[in-house]
Amino acid sequence: MAQSIRRIGLKVLVALLRFFTPPAPAGWRRSTRPTHLRGS
């Protein structure tokens, strides 16, 4: 049961991610990754 809920939750998460994030265009783009290790 818990595993099914986790699986459905993951699918919803991925669907949301795909919906709200457009594919990135080719080429160099500005990076927004934090570079500090702590808090990762």
Binding site: L16, R18, R29, S31, L37, G39, S40
Partner: protein, 593 residues
Amino acid sequence: MNSSRSVVLGIGGLLGHDANAALLIDGRLIASSQEERHTRRKHDGAFPRHAIAEALAMGGIAPRDVTDVVFAEKPLQTHLFNLSSRPSNAFTRALGRLLPERAAGHYTQPARTLLPQAKFHYAWHHLTHVAGGFHTSPFERAAFLCIDGKGEDYSASMGIIDGSRLDLLAEQTYENGLGMFYTLVTMFLGFHSFGSEYKVMGLAPYGTPRYVNKLARLFTTDERGGFRLKGPVRFQWDSLLAALPRIAEATGLPVRDKKDPLNGDYIDVASSLQQIFEDEVFKMARYIRAETGEENLVFCGGCAQNCVTAGKLRAAKIFRGVFNSPVGGDMGSGLGAALLLERERRGEQFKIEHNGFYLGDEPGLIPAEATPWRIDVKGDFDDFVASQLAQGKIVAWVRGRMELGARALGARSILADARRPGMQSRLNLAVKFRESFRPFAPLVLAEDCAHWFDTGEPSDFMQYTASLLPARRAPQPEEFASLRERLDFPRSEIASVVHVDYSARIQTIRRENHPDMHRLLTAFKRHTGVPILINTSFNVSGQPIVRSAAEAWECFLNTDIDLLVLNDQLFRNPFQKTREEKLTWLNQFAELA
């Protein structure tokens, strides 16, 4: 043990290959090695428990003493990218704060079981390459260019690094970038085993780049080297295989089976691939120079292991200095991860004392069965070995701590006289059991390097190629009847280490870095007038480089190497194994490769 000490263990290999570990105690680099050297499985990606155990033993500490573990990847970000095909963004990073990274990591459970007291950290993969490159470089600050097959969700990144600042300025997202392109064409050419890209780099000088325009149909690029393959390809075996017909269509050649002859068309494809790769890297380098204004560049990531490109980049002087770290690729990712934490802890400029990257263990006890074959050397040991080399003997050389990284740097090496006609073929076919077109690398006394090659700059870790000086070249005919004829043509006095385009992947030997090898080369020069020896890794095709004295002895028995140096002792080969016995031994590695 003092509880206030900082004991940092870096672990690399979560992406499934080249697992490794590195140990820093109070900011001092104690040890680092790759798991493959312990398990004898090339590019082994399993949790590096043997490499960790060796590092802890060399540090004289127990697992409970480790205060911090830094992984060289963020597995949750990789997982989300693989599921969604969307690159990392604020949303995925917010998820990363809500969900523990360990939720997606198959390494983390064994690590937590083994190291229960430690605090765990997860680093962006490219930043581990950058840290590994920068803190082993001679620069106080530098721009960086990192290119590899795949970080979590990106394949190239650039920025600026100094002692306290690490700015990741720009990146190329998705995995279908320049690194994947090189891998795909390598597979198209019939080299399917992991990490075979260097074979294509070695093949490229034999051809002409007449397939550049045809291969260019497969990707888009711009003036800054913004490169992407057309059509989605994932870094997964079936996805890569499914993409190969597209290369066949573009080139008009069938996908080559590894058993098929390597004809001129495929060699020209290899040459074209290398040309495209160099052009793209140069475009990226010019863009980074203009964008950052920095005078020095750290070139890192798996693609920076392309030493031909690294050598040309250094010679081109787009940057005043270029450093290509021998641990800037995945085999040094654990070290890079540990260094990332160390730089945050210190918050100021530091360089790591890396001991020439001889960071593994000593060879250990010499097998008892070797004793009858020991040679009692009278007089100077190095001089005697040098005299044997000068007479055409092939010598395996196992001394001191093992190297970290893909290349043998003279601690687990096979050495031979580069002047001997046919030595390249003899080593390839009777000792290494591998493709015959691949060149060997020369060891050269640093103080004599400029008398032979067109560079006075160091290449202490075999990171760069250089060209043989024109005065030392023999002119080559315009045409050769075959690849074999071209390979065997005596294009210089040291033909075995000079490629068909007169390039050589040099390792400069300085007395302060490698006193043993410096003594040997000096003695060899005394005997022959030539300060150069062939250096190739002590292994056979498909086998990781030997680690211990026992492995060295076993490999020695199963090859046609004449002499074996184990620390300060010399042994002759009994030559007791039959050809069939040798092939049976060899095949176990072919199956693992």
